[in-house]
Amino acid sequence: MENEYAVRVEHAVVRFNMASERIDNLKEYFVKLLRRELMFKEFFALKDVSFEVKKGEAWGIIGTNGSGKSTLLKLICGILKPYKGTVTINGTIAPLIELGAGFDGDLTARENIFLNGAVLGYDKKFMEQHFDEIVDFAELWDFLDMPIKNYSSGMAARLGFAIATIVRPDILICDEVLSVGDYAFQKKCERRMAEMRESGTTLLYVSHSIESVKEICDHALWLDKGIVKKYGDVDTVAEAYIEKLKQKEKK
């Protein structure tokens, strides 16, 4: 059990097309084709990334903007496919990349709970059973029949978090989603995440705040321009990262 991995990434490469202008219609495509201007400027968001997360570990992913952190999370969620290499997942995933990504603004909160549950693959009966629990956690009883488009981003995020974490997933993926809620709600979310961790959930966490990574995670992975700089124990990696940032500042 202890040796079992939850996420294994082997030599993953993610390629984007970074052509100066993206061609998304036939007319331009043929014009460029005739003029022989059809370029494919490739850009590697991740270059040969390999690491393995064992079950029950909590990994923080750190790095500057554009270093490929979100790309890595999307790769693990299955939203992106690797151009080369493999990604193997062992268990169920709850992606919290953007809370309430499946909400439809015209539907009421009540209807959106069922829709969002379905996006995560839960059926109607299951959602009915957990309906009260979700609304309790989000503290939104008063606004249930209001269209989501009238919600503030914090309220929508609360609802999104409540739905996404209704079942304890094997792997929880967080991309700085909690920054929108108010302080009390952030604490509440952190508590729920801690509960999940205790019962064995693996966590992958992206944040710019080194403090919160240190607090929540036991391992860390430092990405720089798509390359893994360092990975392993959270304190060592965080130290090296901060050291690097300081060096840069001096320059």
Partner: protein, 262 residues
Amino acid sequence: MDKFMRRLAVFQHYRPLLSQLVVKDIKLKYRRSFLGYLWSILNPLMIMGIMVLVFSSMFRFDIQNYPVYLIIGQTIFNFVSEATNQAMWSITGNAALMKKTYVPKYIFTLSRVTSSFVNMIFALGAMLLVFIICRIHFSLNMLFIPVILIQVYIFSMGLGLFLAAGTVFFRDIQYIYSAFLTAWMYVTPIFYPISQLPENLQRCIKHFNPLYAYITQFRTIVLESMCPDMRLVVYGFVVAFLMMGFGTLVFMKSQDRFILYI
């Protein structure tokens, strides 16, 4: 085989999503209208009324039970047109969701075509009304109607998958397709009898326009109370499955690259 079973399991897992999306589409379509779902019936009736006026007083076609003839063609064509147009935007329109969480992408296309299909089922209410008013003889042959609808559904699904994938890479497919639809409408005998056309065009339509096969099956059942020509039924199914296979192939081959273009 193993891969197929896995795909099936994934589909099972996301079936609640499919039904939620269909319900959402239908709910939102009529949410802020006074007459609500009644519009699904009223709208085709109104359009049919106008077309009957236009074509029975301005151009005279020698067709018995013209309103029935017209509404059958109109309903089938409208479904194909609506379903494919909706399907075309099913991927690009759900870009926000697809960038944030993993959902099998075909679910969105499937849901759009299916909600258009449900709309058509409502529109059958309008058709029924016309049948009653025109004193159509109801026969057991009508039990065959669902078989026709299944053919059209499969065909539209295939075309929809192809268009959805194509639109991700080339957004101007919409203009080409809308011109194509107009042409398609005129080469489908919706409001005129096919015998009006020159011989070679007739042959062309019979061979290459599957909508002709679907509409004709329907009309044979209702207007002649006969079982449709089995050759037409087989042709209809073969074309539907070919289209489905083609659409699925194009969609599956390109779906991993969608994320880079939406």
